[in-house]
């Protein structure tokens, strides 16, 4: 049974505190909320998917990081975890899944195959998912250990925390999406 000492709270962000009030930037609060409730969309195609199963199962328990709810619908997910080789036949589907996700959306490329094609430098394999969709975090390994996947998620949390609320409407971001032909 958990005691109150087992429950870890996030640190209070920087702000002004007084009697009965606490003031901070909206960005920080939104970032904090988003970072600690990232809903993953596991896009598992091969070996790394099995390691992700281990990550979400009891031993490693990704739920500890606020990613309790596996969202198998792209519409209600924040974090696309691409795990495994993406063949060229699969690339349009991956792209479609990404397009279906609503903003804000983040992508983690888990494993060597998703990051760069890995050992499969062949006619049928896409050499890294960043050819078709933008990627925020790359997790190396073939396959990565669950600890590494968790590390990737925690680094994404850092990214999410520090992201400006307006980033998604910035011209740089629009340009990035335009370079992938995603509107």
């Amino acid at each position: 049974m958990s005691t109150s000492s087992d429950i870890k709270m996030v640190d209070t962000p920087e702000g002004i505190e007084g009697q009965g009030f606490f003031a901070t930037k909206l960005d920080t609060v939104v970032g904090l909320a988003r970072a600690n409730s990232l809903w993953p969309l596991p896009f598992a195609t091969s070996c790394c998917g099995i390691e992700f199963m281990a990550t979400m199962a009891s031993h490693y328990d990704v739920a500890r990081f606020g990613s309790e709810r596996m969202s198998f619908s792209p519409r209600q997910a924040d974090m696309l975890l691409v795990m495994g080789t993406i063949a060229k036949k699969m690339a349009p589907i991956l792209r479609q899944v990404y397009e279906q996700m609503s903003e804000p959306r983040w992508v983690i490329a888990v494993g060597a195959c998703a990051s760069s094609g890995g050992i499969f430098d062949t006619y049928s394999v896409l050499q890294g998912i960043d050819k078709v969709i933008p990627v925020d975090i790359y997790v190396p390994g073939c396959p990565p250990r669950p600890e590494q996947i968790l590390d990737g998620i925690m680094r994404l949390q850092e990214l999410v925390k520090s992201e400006s609320v307006r980033r998604r409407s910035s011209p740089e971001y629009q340009e990035l999406l335009a370079s992938y032909n995603i509107s």
Binding site: T45, I50, A57, S58, S124
Partner: protein, 411 residues
């Protein structure tokens, strides 16, 4: 996204047009996959549905085609294991050992008894790991997440044993031509013994959660059945064939790696339905535990690799101090170890059935042709036959119980 819709000339389009139900309802098409959460891997099934009932289905595979066979033609023989690892990644060591045995058959290498026993242990552990995934995920698909969370804890223990032996968890790249890269540490044996002591209780509890569970039985009995004749014609092997009532097991038919030294039963089912497949896999885990126990108890002393300096890397201290060893080391590392011209087919009992390696060599440093007989690929084509006339939810359970591994399916 019009290009993702069914083309108008597709035969289903015509069937929808022709068929009018009495109550005015129409047939519809359901796209199951390629990224459906219930398909555990990526393959597409276009299902023609009449309400909830499946009239017909058409499978599309190849979404994770990685060209193993082409890569294999460009790799030295000892660099094939990274590929076999990633073929059936749920039971990578079986694939690795199968490949080494194929190569040893081509080179006529006798391996020591100790190596054979070690291989048996590692292959049976891999089989348990494979069956844990399949059966626990079948539980998840029929609505019972408990079993999955419970047994995955113990799957980690198997990974820990792998780690102790070779350093990796999933894609083990284990073994060398003629044996293992190093002898197993006492810690490895200790971990295996611990696993053998602890796991039976866990597996017993897992079984008792599902085997006589009324909901689970209702969801799986008579779901996705296949007759023995049909299964045979479709090229079924492994647990799925045994569930249909044929006791075909390569470990018994043509024992490799000293399987003849061990006492074990081959569990068979009767009707070839989802429940039987589940039960056969469950029973196989018990048999595997029995085999591992015997192998650990009877483990002979001796070298952990065959004496084949042409193919087996010499120890590092000899490489630095001994001219001959240095030459061998150089030749092997550079991949200049030609295999005489020959053809071999070797099959092992993989997690899903007969895992065959058909190797043609032409005397050069790479295989001329290497074909993998991938059990998943061959039996998955029966899926549409098995679910025809069933409910959609039954199709999910059937698919899950077939244990189709995308990596193995698509090569």
């Amino acid at each position: 996204m019009s290009d993702l819709l069914l083309p108008p000339e597709h035969r289903y389009a015509k069937m929808i047009e022709q068929r009018q139900n009495e109550d005015g309802s129409e047939l519809s098409i359901l796209n199951l996959g390629p990224t459906h959460p219930a398909t555990h891997g990526i393959f597409q099934n276009i299902l023609l549905m009449d309400g909830e009932r499946i009239l017909d289905g058409e499978g599309t595979v190849g979404y994770i085609h990685r060209a193993f066979e082409k890569i294999a033609e460009n790799r030295p023989f000892y660099q094939i294991t990274p590929l076999t690892d990633r073929m059936n990644y749920c039971s990578a060591p079986i694939n690795n050992m199968g490949w080494w045995m194929t190569l040893e058959k081509a080179l006529d290498i006798e391996v020591p008894k100790r190596v054979q026993y070690m291989r048996v242990i590692i292959m049976e552990l891999a089989r348990i790991a494979d069956h844990i995934i399949c059966n626990s995920v079948l539980g998840v698909d029929t609505g019972a997440l408990t079993g999955f969370l419970y047994v995955f804890q113990y799957r980690e223990k198997i990974y820990e044993i792998y780690e102790e032996i070779c350093g990796a968890r999933l894609t083990t790249n284990m073994g060398r031509i003629g044996g293992f890269e190093r002898d197993w540490s006492p810690a490895a044996f200790r971990k295996i013994n611990e696993f053998l002591d602890e796991f039976p209780k866990i597996w017993g509890e897992f079984e008792s959660l599902l085997t006589r569970n009324r909901i689970f039985m209702d969801r799986t009995i008579d779901v996705g059945p296949i007759s023995a004749e049909k299964a045979m014609s479709y090229g079924f092997t492994g647990p799925n064939l045994r569930a249909a009532g044929i006791d075909y097991d390569i470990r018994v038919m043509k024992p490799y790696s000293s399987y003849e030294d061990f006492e074990f039963d081959v569990p068979v089912g009767k009707s070839g339905d989802t429940y039987d497949r589940f039960c056969v896999r469950n029973a196989e885990v018990w048999e595997s535990l029995k085999i591992i126990r015997q192998a650990v108890d009877k483990m002979p002393e001796g070298p952990f690799h065959a004496n084949v300096p042409d193919y087996y890397l010499p120890p590092k201290e000899e490489v630095y101090n001994n001219m001959e060893a240095l030459i061998y080391h150089f030749k092997i590392v550079m991949g200049e170890v030609p295999v005489p011209k020959t053809e071999v087919y070797h099959a092992v009992e993989g997690g899903n059935g007969e895992l065959g390696f058909y190797l043609i060599t032409d005397g050069s440093r790479t295989p001329y042709r290497l074909h993998f007989r991938r059990p998943c690929f061959i039996y998955y084509q029966a899926f549409n036959d098995m679910v025809r006339g069933q409910m959609l939810s039954d199709a999910i359970a059937t698919l899950s119980s077939l244990n189709v591994i995308a990596g193995e399916l698509d090569a």
